[in-house]
């Protein structure tokens, strides 16, 4: 019975829209995180001196700055995802379920 509903949901064009939008966002963000993170680790492994450069006459090195930037950026990306998912995607899901489930009742 619920299988019928699942089939109906899947046929709804909104389902396709929801899935493609969300998957695109999720994989883009995952890609950004992985590239930056493994990029940093590759730099550490193969060219560490780049991370030892001091910025101006302060004691802050590029490595420290990049590290802090990763903490902040990765957290902001989680915020971006949560924001879009909790508003746009959830609203779309709501509409989708309303159309596909309620319509029949």
């Amino acid at each position: 019975m619920s299988s019928e509903i699942y089939a109906r949901i899947q046929k709804n064009p909104k389902f396709k829209e929801l899935v493609s939008k969300r998957e695109r966002l999720a994989w883009t963000l995952t890609g950004i995180v992985l590239v930056l993170f493994f990029g940093l680790f590759m730099t550490v492994a193969f060219n560490p001196s780049v991370l030892a450069i001091r910025l101006g006459d302060s004691y802050v090195t590029t490595g420290l700055l990049i590290g802090l930037a990763q903490f902040v950026l990765f957290w902001l990306l989680t915020a971006v995802y949560v924001r879009r998912a909790n508003s746009e995607f959830d609203a779309l899901t709501e509409q989708l379920l309303h159309e596909s489930v309620k319509a029949k009742k």
Partner: protein
Amino acid sequence: MMKKILANLSAGLVSLGMAGAALAAPAVEITQKQPLNVPAIIMFAIFVGMTLAITYWAASRTKTASDFYTAGGGITGFQNGLAMAGDYMSAATLLGLTAMVYTNGYDAYLFMIAFFVGWPIILFLMAERLRNLGKFTFADITSYRLDQGKVRTMAAIGSLTVVCFYLIVQMVGAGQLIKLLFGLDYHIAVIVVGALMVVYVTFGGMVATTWVQIIKACLLLFGGTVITVLAFSQFGFSFNTLAAKTIELHKLKDMLFAPGKLLQDPINAISLAMGLMFGLAGLPHILMRFFTVNNAKEARKSVLYAAGFVGFFFNVILLMGLCAIVIVGTNPEFFEGGTLGGKIIGGGNMVAMHLAKAVGGNLLLGFLAAVAFATILAVVSGLALAGASAISHDLYARVIKKGNVSEAQEIKVSKMASFGIGLIAVVLGIAFEKQNVAFMAALAFGIAAAGNFPVLFLSMYWKDLTTRGALAAGYGGLIAAVVLVVLSKSVWVTVFGYATPIFPYDQPALFAMPLAFLLGYVFSITDKSERAGKERAAFADQWVRAQTGFGADGAVSH
């Protein structure tokens, strides 16, 4: 008296948990029993009193299986985020990582980034699917369309192995730490931890476990922040002033803020990073936290908050370690025989404790000691509940009884299981008192990353996964992780005493994980059985539910 307590401290506390996995650290050294530390014991007693009161309250609210496993799904995203962060930050985070900053500077920061990066990944790829497909344990997801009996048995074995190794590390760490900080007997400490954990879990279930975790997370965040603010104020809150002093004093000089020796080997660095990152996505007690909230919306918020707290705390630890280089490193009181630059009293991992004493006196020292104990207690409770659920929900209710079991019976079995796990934890904690257990943390993360994560990920994303493929991936990853850790330095050399390790890296993930995925792929695509066809066909429905949450417990609003 405090001075005496600090006088003979000697423990390799890095191996208390995660940082141990990362470092392949020295063993938890046998500590000497210290005189009773009364303020710390009083503060710890207050914590225990509070949590027991909560357990009493929670017990009256724990009636159904859902209450027991997931607090009835009634935890808010914010509360759950705190609890998740609490589950992830063990005593090793506080003590081990501070010590690592103190000795290695920037390298420790790299470790912390690796510990952190799993959070965004788990949010983007897994959070809503976990919530939408699962009910009580992560095995609910893998067994959604596959053969329940076999897949659940495997998931339960994976969970219990992770829980068991992680528990032993925590119990042994607890015993040594308590002997050191509180002046109690090792055996008493282990029994106290085991008994309290059983009380929280059996009487209060997930409600109590969650609140123990929340209180502990707040104490940890508060304690760490207070110490750091007090210490950093001595440098006028100027990073440059602090950095200039540390560079002047530290033996690494300019290289303190640059990558050093710790991650020179690229393969080791990547393997470690993968183990820490994907290990997070396979830890049963963390995954369970996705079911304690009402819907996918709250699940996502939980991760946002958890990542915020964890990220904040790691940066606090960086400052704490740096301040310690100057404040602890120039105070002869904290060195054996009063020789600056010599051996730190109690071993390197007592740096955070010394810093607390230096900036806040005996009261802050006692507070931090109590927090460290509370941390261990909270982490073992989360682990015990995850282990008990694997036994009662996966093995007993679904595999042995095939679902023909009343909720009351299932809860009864969970309670018996938590009691059993508590008993085993105490026995093993005592048995391993004098053993080097650092490798067990590496094992827990390796098995989580290679045994649990690939199966979970494939079952969520790949329609062609079959039961045969899942079993090959799960058992293959598990065995590969165990074998590689046994052949690595932390067991082959440290435990068995051979001269050189056969497997040269600290973490098996880089090799065991791809192997698990490969096995899953090969054994699935070659599976031409009729059942495999049905399993592939069932993916469509699972995909809709994963995406929309329709049919998920409590997730449909109309």
